[in-house]
Symmetry: C2
Subunit: 441 residues, 2 copies
């Protein structure tokens, strides 16, 4: 990573390097600071507010020209106790987690037998006679891949399983965790209700517990389970945190780089998305340190991504009229694995500049992707407003081992991989902020 | 593993194979049954009693000639809730587990600052001024190795840390888990008190949480923690379960093979010690199936190993007068990794027979160890009565990733490795039960 300064020097017209206060470990240092000093930070919580304060303080200390927050109203979902037992014939507790947004049970809980389905489609094809009065268990496994393409086929059960189960009269939903590890962690994540369908509690159990429950049901199809869970939701305020390095020549043309500041409540949100926060803060800081860019570099730390892009939607709504100033946007929100592919969503005439970017990225072992980039979850909302985006695609092979579990902690980040990320972000952001190319064209 | 029947045929004089009801997957099948149908089974609990019932039922179904239980009285330690929070300046919860045997706190818990030590010796060298009124945190890391030799240097803090901390006036003890995984599980395990020293609560935190707490203390040495925990201990009854294949020629000469039936309360005790239970039950079953041995093969499933060899001591006390009948003893209690070394504790004149055993074991990639075998934790108590022992040493490289955590579940067992274990146990046990060698000589 000693070549980092050289890359920057080559990229920037300034040539001469400023005295460096910050180095290529800055992304890791910021991630360490956020995950240690703030820790868990689910939207609306005290941790979330401390994360906002942390971001404002650190942006100022890093020398950003402008720092501000943009408030929005959000549901604040609070996890309470949760316990799931096989009551008979093989009494034992299962490792579970409430799915984000789930209601709780009554004090006495839910006692019922279980009907198991291979996946959400199998549940949809079931009859009320099969399901009524039972707990639905969807036991769909997820496989690993680099791109995260296996998330989509399983996450539907998490998001919509409670609606489909309730339509058929189920008392509760249990899913096998949307995750790829044999470690005994249950993976939480956002689930939704339909106001026209009864709301039922929804939980995930760990992969080993899903295998155990399946074995139990094979041996004892009438096994009885008991679920007791206390959760609640209230309205709260949260904030997107925004900071800028003002452009020297075209300050009203904005290169927006983002990540999300919130995390789920049980881990410290290192991979999701402390690493992204550290990367985009470090990228803009190092760019300014090497010489002010021509265009403005704006860092947006979105609030409440996990609850359903609440902060991103608020940001897009507030900026619908000035989104045209954003010449390019990108987000880091897929862990801390090495970047292996660079994708764009540019106009045809500016694709050549994408190729120029790729030439600089290629030495980092990055491949050229297509021109259908997504940009990242929060930034994708801006993309729907016509903002061009790029995606620096991270290797997500192990991401779903840790995703949305208590096990998402700082030690899961490889500092060397994070430095490779930072190099790529510096190249991409510097080039975008120092050209006059209109990526919409 | 298709050669298993061939090995048995070669070993046994009978030559002709009986119609096989049971095969080389029997050890795994029994482990699966115990961990699924019983699950957690801490000594004195309802799970423990169900495990005893399970063992009696299965010994009978497997065709053992004699099956009985031997009752003993034991402390029954019951885990209650436990919560450890950094209260300020960086509020967050840490993943913890009560150490086995620990008392709880009052309802309001313990609020105190923390003093960190590198290891138990550093604590012992401290002054009361450093410790009084604080929570002691011992942050000693454990490294991996095949033989488990790194357990000893760290487990002292778990066993005796509360005594040493209390001598200096500490309010509670926190240890870094005695474990080798970066997964966010805290490892429980037996701790002891000294009646002459104040009893203080003792917990372990996961390795990532230990690293987090160390970072917090670096940034904020005066950080305040709060520990609330409810545990209780009462007297209960438990049982060793014993079953025999009666010898055809020398029924009063006993080859004793053992494992422990109890487990810690948070996992299903697959590695510790469901695999051992499955192995020794399967070994004796398959030996009988191939033709009755000359000596008696006795399987002992010891109760409450985890609480401090309570069942083993009861067994040794009850059999002090007939221990001379036991010609050889061995125990499987180090997970389910492949056996890599064969050690003995024989008299000099019978060492040649150990070499004969080794010749049969060598094709399984097993090395010859020394003549200072330990035999296993429960069997070591018999060894102190003069019983010769062997150890079939398992590869424990990953054992302490899972040991005493909720993550000790069936999926952590490699069935192929367990089959290799079974082959070795069959060879060793068959040979010991079909010779007239006196291993004491």
């Amino acid at each position: 990573m000693k070549i980092l300064a050289g890359i920057i020097a080559t990229l920037l017209a300034s040539g001469a390097l400023a005295a460096t206060s910050y180095n290529n470990q800055l992304a890791f240092q910021l991630t360490e600071s956020l995950t240690t000093e703030v820790g868990p930070r689910i939207a609306g919580s005290a941790g979330d507010q401390r994360a906002v304060d942390w971001a404002v303080k650190n942006f100022k200390q890093l020398g950003f020209d402008k720092v501000w927050t943009e408030e929005f109203v959000t549901p604040y979902w609070q996890r309470g106790m949760a316990r799931l037992d096989i009551v008979q014939p093989f009494p034992q507790s299962l490792v579970l987690t409430a799915l984000g947004g789930s209601i709780g049970t009554s004090e006495q809980g839910i006692n019922a037998s279980v009907v198991m389905f291979a996946d959400l489609d199998a549940l949809k094809a079931a009859t009320p006679e099969q399901v009524k009065g039972k707990i639905v268990f969807i036991n769909k496994a997820m496989t690993k891949d680099r791109s995260g393409s296996q998330y989509g086929p399983v996450v539907g059960a998490r998001a919509n399983g409670a609606i489909e189960a309730a339509k058929l009269g189920a008392k509760a939903l249990i899913i096998r965790s949307v995750g790829t590890s044999q470690n005994r962690f249950a993976h939480t994540g956002k689930m939704v209700y339909d106001d026209k369908v009864e709301k039922i509690p929804a939980v995930a159990i760990s992969v080993p517990d899903a295998e155990q429950l399946a074995r139990v049901l094979t041996k004892a199809p009438e096994a009885q389970l008991k679920l007791v869970m206390h959760n609640q939701t209230e309205d709260a305020k949260s904030h997107n945190v925004v900071a800028e390095i003002t452009g020297s020549e075209r300050p009203n043309e904005v290169v927006l780089i983002g990540a999300h500041l919130d995390s789920w409540d049980q881990g410290t949100g290192a991979l999701d998305d402390g690493a992204g926060v550290g990367l985009v803060m470090a990228t803009a800081t190092l760019i300014k340190q090497q010489g002010r860019p021509k265009r403005t570099v704006r860092v947006v730390l979105f609030g409440n991504e996990e609850g359903g892009l609440v902060g991103a939607r608020a940001y897009a709504a507030a900026h619908a009229n000035d989104a045209s100033q954003i010449v390019l946007a990108s987000e880091s929100d897929f862990g801390a694995g090495r970047i292996w592919q660079f994708s764009t969503a540019f106009g045809e005439k500016s694709l050549a500049f994408g190729d120029e970017m790729f030439k600089k990225l290629q030495p980092l072992n990055i491949e050229r992707g297509n021109n259908k980039a997504y940009g990242g979850p929060d930034v994708s909302v801006l993309h729907t407003l016509g903002v061009p985006v790029v995606t620096l695609e991270q290797d997500g092979t192990d991401y779903f081992d840790y995703h949305h579990t208590p096990n998402d902690t700082l030690d899961k980040i490889d500092p060397a991989a994070l430095e490779q990320n930072l190099q790529a972000w510096l190249i991409m952001t510097s080039m975008a902020a120092n050209t006059t190319t209109d990526f919409r064209k």
